[in-house]
Symmetry: C2
Subunit: 279 residues, 2 copies
Amino acid sequence: MEIDRVALIGLGLIGGSLARDLAARGARVLGHDCDPETLEAALHDGAIAEALGPGLEGIEEADVVILAVPVAAAPPLLEALRPRLRRAHLITDVGSTKRTIGLAAARLGLGDRFVGAHPLAGDHRSGWAAGRPGLFRDARVFLCPTPATSVAARTLASTLWTTVGGRPEFVDADEHDRRLAWTSHLPQATATALAVALADRGIGRAELGPGGRDTTRLAASAPGIWTDIALDNTASLVPAIAALEARLAELRDALEHGDAEAVREFFARGRDWADRGPT
Amino acid sequence: MEIDRVALIGLGLIGGSLARDLAARGARVLGHDCDPETLEAALHDGAIAEALGPGLEGIEEADVVILAVPVAAAPPLLEALRPRLRRAHLITDVGSTKRTIGLAAARLGLGDRFVGAHPLAGDHRSGWAAGRPGLFRDARVFLCPTPATSVAARTLASTLWTTVGGRPEFVDADEHDRRLAWTSHLPQATATALAVALADRGIGRAELGPGGRDTTRLAASAPGIWTDIALDNTASLVPAIAALEARLAELRDALEHGDAEAVREFFARGRDWADRGPT
């Protein structure tokens, strides 16, 4: 099945990069963004062929509909659009949590054509200007079908992401959210909490060395996007944050007791973990 | 005053980089490292002109003596070397804490010629192979004199670091340690604690995206070096870790109560801090 006409709602880092890549590969991208300047820039750069109407008129024509909006905005948008998605072979999104949107799609009777997607290509930047061609090259892309998703829709979702260079992996939506709480949402919460602690203490980012800047880089991420993600994945994120608090308390306790062996072992555990992975 | 003959004990990331830069600028570097292969490599690369004897014989000849050893090793080494430092115009170190070594120098009667140094050029790598020419270019270098340090020794310390491209800043040793607990030691503790939490959960580094890898990069740092630093600066580091625990608990609490406004404000505080500093 060909990916000819794609409707893409939201032209931020992920949506905007996807528009650039799909247009470069010959797809006709019908785009929308609530920011008129972003829409103008995307038209000007040729990343979108045409703007959808202010009420998303034109979306009826799309073979593939992609919601690239914040996690909390996607379910109500899907509901509003439902009567106009009769033609679409694939309905998908790009959010960092997959359980809620998958349940919404199923509830709306769109489960057979819905595949949630989460490309691991985000960073602390956001918005149209942060997007770029090739963002998804070699990126892992988690694909979460609903129990009702058709083989055709699964195949089309896979094709969509390999077309832009990604490496799709099918995974259960619940399992996705549980793992991402640790691999992505906890690192974000950590960087933000460290930034807030430094801010409270009156320490500016310029005072940090290269290592401290790495540790706090994610603090620059868009607050709105992360508020949605954290609230949507609270059930898994709360125990992850609690686990980090416990590890910090363990180190603090070892220091308070002057327990050199425990302190050394703590740093060694961190290094062993780092040594077993990529740099 | 010229920097002609420099004795450099310890050829790891900092000592090894310093040897390379000083040799390239015409200084005669007499070096030592407890690892014979490191010593061999440094001689082979011309970073050191000559190896000191196994008991550091030859150190008597040096104008400048630099201890580039772990924080806990420096004070006893200074004590052992004291009778043979009569000729040296400057005695210095490169450790990440400055209070203890400064007090040791003063106690040993070396205060007039001692200036503690801390170049902000470390990262998660360590050892001779991690060193490189130009490591200190544009790096901040904290210089901590003792109350007795002579003007000549201060000037020589400043010259030493500007010679290799650093930007020296004189600062009180106690104040240095208090600030570094937040700007450097807390980020290290954070990255390690996050790594340990992920390790406990069975999550490998390869599962993280680019942002999570940044947040945990420092976990690869050498455990021995950081055990020393953390123990030496426990008084300042413990409250810093406790402050981070409190901020994590604040976020966790807001999530548990589904308080969207508090969660949003938390991420916004982190982003405001990040926006006010370099990327």
